[in-house]
Amino acid sequence: MIKIIYIMWLRQIKRYWRSKSRIIGSIGQPMLYLVAMGFGLGGIYQKAGGGNYIDFLAPGVISQSIMFMAVFNGVDLIWDKQFGFLKETLVAPVSRLEIVLGRVLGGATISVIQGILVFLLTLVVGFKPENLSYLLPSVGLMFLIGLFYASLGTAIASLMKDFHGFQLIMNFLIMPSYFLSGALFPLDSAPPALQTIASFNPLTYGVSGLRQLMAGTVNYSLGIDILILIILSSITLSITSYLFTKIEA
């Protein structure tokens, strides 16, 4: 079982690593957020007594880039569906659970690599992590965020036949998740309705956890963040596995 999961995981990693334009391209958007919003709103944030905005923003942008990369890796399944490779795995004498686990773990790993790259970028624009010894736990949390969103992306892709619904994912899942997660503004000063909506958003707990580990700012307790992400990842992974077994080529 481990070997099948490993080979599926390895395929994802190789494909990512070989696509240099994808790696470079995926850094563009976080860079834009860090520079445009970080420097653009930094002054106002500081005047309002919020402190250094880059320190606040960096964990949010890292979480966002992990979510993007993980969802897109999951949705990558649609390419395999459309261009044939999926069939090669579906006719193999292995359980679909092994295949889906390999794919999702591959997506989660790639999103962690992405998170680390963006973290390095945040250092360049002036982010100062609170405590360097928390970097390793931060990577663990990045993996949990990646695991949840890679599962979610794969679940969505299991239901989709082509990329026609892709814009729907962008407009109704990715962007709202990002803007309503507390990545860009502090949730405690947001209207109560927005805070309630954010509490139903899985990314909120990813941002909250990373911000606590990296910048020392507490929103929810780290234990709650981790617990919620583990529960959500387990539920989503189970649903994804079920949907994957139902795929007919």
Partner: protein
């Protein structure tokens, strides 16, 4: 080229097989058997139900009704054993273009649990068989259509399947590559007694290679037998004429239409 290396053991048995999609009947109550070592051509116009049948035989689609037995195993209840029994070359390419030829083969070896000590030797032998040894470390995206097909055939044979399904394996290939490919398939059939189940738009291939032919139209098998029997039945001189008489459709025009569709599909592939 003499025809297939057959024995009397039934390796594929299809009974009253039906597949419906939202009320549309794609495959309608078909039955046939294929013996071990046979080269069986499954012919029919576009949309007749050929690929749907192959998908059901290879566990990719669940039949609405009917029974399929592959190598003695029921497709519905023993999927893993069935899957170990066959190799397949799909109508559309199913290689990972971002991996090398070797990596695609290795990936398959792991999925099919080929014993570790045999993997390297088998991959090298098969790549030699399909004349791709010198390109084994090249990315598949740099391969021509013919090279991809050859690699897919090699990959399909890596786990030593008893049956090889070939869905339009030579479509879009030049005559020289087609000949080369068929001579390799012929070698496999004779060397390992591999049963070959194939579909094609090139009826000369079917006439030359197949020990038996079935023609499917509107989801039903409308004729079955050796090429000679079909020619005698329709009082024609070639399988192509027999086909035209049975289905009323010109397979050459269909082949051109289909290839245009395939090219369009390939051009939309992400780079």
């Amino acid at each position: 080229m003499s025809k297939a290396n057959i024995n009397s053991h039934t390796i594929i048995k299809v009974q009253k097989l039906t597949k419906k999609f939202n009320g549309f009947t794609a495959v309608d109550d078909i039955s046939f058997t294929i013996n071990k070592g046979e080269v069986f051509a499954f012919l029919g116009p576009n949309g007749a139900g050929k690929t749907t049948t192959i998908k059901m035989l290879t566990t990719l689609l669940r039949p609405t009704k009917g029974k399929i037995s592959i190598n003695g195993f029921d497709v519905k209840h023993h999927q893993h054993q069935v899957r170990r029994s066959f190799g397949i070359v799909f109508q559309d390419f199913s290689l990972d273009e971002e991996l090398t030829a070797w990596e695609n083969m290795y990936f398959h070896a792991v999925l099919y649990k080929v014993p570790g000590n045999l993997v390297k030797k088998r991959i090298n032998n098969l790549l030699r068989l399909v004349s791709l040894s010198d390109r084994k470390n090249d990315f598949v995206k740099t391969f021509s259509g013919g090279m991809r097909r050859r690699l897919e055939i090699a990959r399909g044979l890596l786990h030593r399947p008893q049956i090889l399904f070939l869905d339009e394996p030579t479509l879009g290939l030049d005559a020289q590559t087609r000949n080369k490919l068929w001579s390799q398939i012929y070698k496999l059939n004779h060397k390992y007694q591999t049963t070959i189940f194939f579909t094609t738009h090139y009826l000369d291939e079917a006439e030359k290679m197949a020990s038996r032919v079935a023609i499917i139209d509107h989801g039903q098998i409308v004729a079955q037998g050796t090429a000679l029997e079909l020619k005698q039945l329709t009082k024609t001189n070639s399988l192509e004429d027999a086909y035209l008489k049975i289905t009323g459709k010109d397979i050459r025009q269909e082949s051109v239409d289909y290839m245009s569709k395939m090219r369009l599909r390939q051009s939309r592939r992400p780079r």
